[in-house]
Amino acid sequence: MTTDVITQDSHDEHHDSDHDHKMTGIKRWLYTTNHKDIGTLYLWFAFIMFLTGGALAMVIRAELFQPGLQIVEPDFFNQLTTVHGLVMVFGAIMPAFTGFANWMLPMMLGAPDMALPRMNNWSFWILPFAFAILLGSFFMESGAPNFGWTFYAPLSTTYSNGSTAFFVFAVHIMGISSIMGAINIVVTIMNMRAPGMTYMKMPLFVWTFFITAYLLIAVMPVLAGVVTMLLTDTYFGTSFFDAAGGGDPVMFQHIFWFFGHPEVYIMILPAFGIVSTTIPAFSRKRLFGYSSMVYATSSIALLSFIVWAHHMFTTGMPLFGELFFMYCTMLIAVPTGVKVFNWVATMWRGSLSFETPMLFSIAFVILFTIGGFSGLMLAMTPVDFQYHDTYFVVAHFHYVLVTGSLFSLYAGAYFWLPKWTGHMYNDTLSKWHFWCSLISVNLLFFPMHFLGLAGMPRRIPDYALQFADFNKWVSIGGFAFGLSQLIFLAVVIKCIRGGEKAPAKPWDGAIGLEWTVASPAPYHTFSTPPPQSDIDNADQHEH
């Protein structure tokens, strides 16, 4: 064992592919440079963060169960909403997608591993520290960040409760982790493709992660910059956002949303990639309009850089600014519509079967589209003045992030669990998970549309009496949805421990190189590149 470790370390590059031994215990996970191990770490970390952020949301919903203040103080409520948002965005959704990227990209590309395995290890292992700092601030004198996940200045500077430094350093670490992860993804896709796999033969899943990684590389540094400005404004006397010293608080919002809007596509484009894999598999057809999907994804990514101010319609923009950002935002509906219609066309006249990944995928298409439509409503400047900062916005982004991103993650998880664990998941339990989630998530988020239209503001721990009934139902939906996610935990644990043995390709309609290797996927795959015939079979184009 010892000699093997030395041999492995003495190589410049990780290529112990001929040996199949790994370290045991905690060291295996701390020192691992294996993309499958790191993918697993990311996925578990994301799920733990998802439950953490979910627990915060449960307290929020418990407080909002009735009008008046029952459980928490308003300041603590603000900390809950802030940390819930930060944990879900940076701790749950983004690392979960990175986990998928780590597990699946090398196998889909016919590559032995990610291009930069050691950086891969590092980019994962700094994440727990970021969230230890962020969540640890709950137990400090200052309390956790209470200025909203958007941390608008001067709330986070002049009016900060003292948590700004912890928040800024946590975001710095998250940003470094994301940037390293993204660089790894780009380098892997550019340099590690099996011979014969051209760009337009890559699975759409790979394409969406490729484009997302570029978005991350472009905007995460801007986020790092803006939190640095916050830090110096709060503690070192600069005046980037302080009007007293010649700065401008509205400029904060411009810089933040220049990061923030591409960020929302960072959280949804990989979801498009996942359902573009699952829907063809269970429709037993090739993906409809593969090339148009690639171009649509790219155009969404490009457009995401010129729509940021639609988050700021009420800041007093001049008319032409409002018109420009309104029309650009509405333009995004075109490529997004292309994608939705392509998924529907893929299903059209297919031999559909409704395994759990397909159920989540279909729910994704329908519910994400609802989220898209409410987004289109919010894009209209005149009505945005009414909807701004109400529960309508909360309903909108939870439809795209929960029934969008999260449902796609579940679709992907059920789809590849047999490949990851070597066992089929418990079908009955997984159906329970789906139906409980589907019903409760709509009970949770759909009435929020009406609450918002009726004028209930977001981020406030109390509300007017006329909102009481809807809020009660929303809270019940929230508790039910939270509990339903524990079913998923049970399914995964059962699936790891045992279950029906999974064949190499458990889904008859699935295509892709990952199904040409055994289940569970061996620790090292594609030490030799796959044959051209396998690559051609994995091509998602219609024939």
């Binding site: 590059e13 009016y159 790092a224 910059g225």
Partner: protein
């Protein structure tokens, strides 16, 4: 032999990986810089387009030209104290009418109600924002800091005129001052 080939390909892969990583790191550094470059760019952009309601920060000379008596513009004054400055701060007159091109003089009152000396700084803003570049200040207390001893009060003047080129659809301008405590920053 096979092992050798394997090494060769991985060495090639490493050098091309390094190249790609270097390029991407450049993008990261450039975008970090771009975030900071947005600060001056924002000012320049607002300056050129006249967005954002920012008025001139140094005095302009009054060009005695014609006065457009056919138009009457209402100019409103509002004041606001930022966090933690215990001054009484208000305009002596809340509203004034003015013809484009005509010079006006108004006064603001400030009194330091604190037990200690405070240096104040008023920051102006005009709504609607697009009107800001047509609002010219010949003299303004906001051009300088206002040091007031404990209990001291002062009357401060603002002299301005509205540009003849003010767009036709604008009939009311609101000039808002926010007063900040900059004692710490200026010491």
């Amino acid at each position: 032999m096979q092992e050798n080939d394997h090494n060769k390909t991985s060495i090639n892969a490493v050098s091309s990986n390094n190249k790609t990583v270097k390029k991407l790191m450049l993008v990261v550094v450039a975008m970090f810089g771009f975030g900071f470059a947005l600060v001056p760019l924002y000012d320049v952009f607002c300056d050129i387009t006249g967005l954002n309601g920012k008025t001139n920060t140094t005095a302009v000379a009054y060009e005695a030209g014609s006065v457009d008596k056919s138009r009457t513009i209402k100019v409103q004054f509002i004041t606001r104290n930022a966090k933690g400055i215990p001054w009484k701060f208000e305009p002596l007159i809340n509203e004034i009418t003015v013809h484009p091109g005509e010079m006006k003089l108004v006064s603001f009152y400030a009194k330091n109600n604190a037990q200690h000396d405070i240096i104040g700084q008023a920051v102006p803003s005009v709504a609607p924002g697009l009107a800001a570049s047509y609002f010219h200040k010949i003299e303004c207390f906001c051009f300088t800091q206002q040091p007031l001893k404990a209990g001291e009060d002062v009357e401060m003047s603002l002299q301005f005129y509205v540009d003849l080129a003010l767009p036709e659809d604008l009939t009311t301008l609101t000039l808002s001052y926010t007063l900040y405590d900059i004692t710490e920053k200026s010491s």
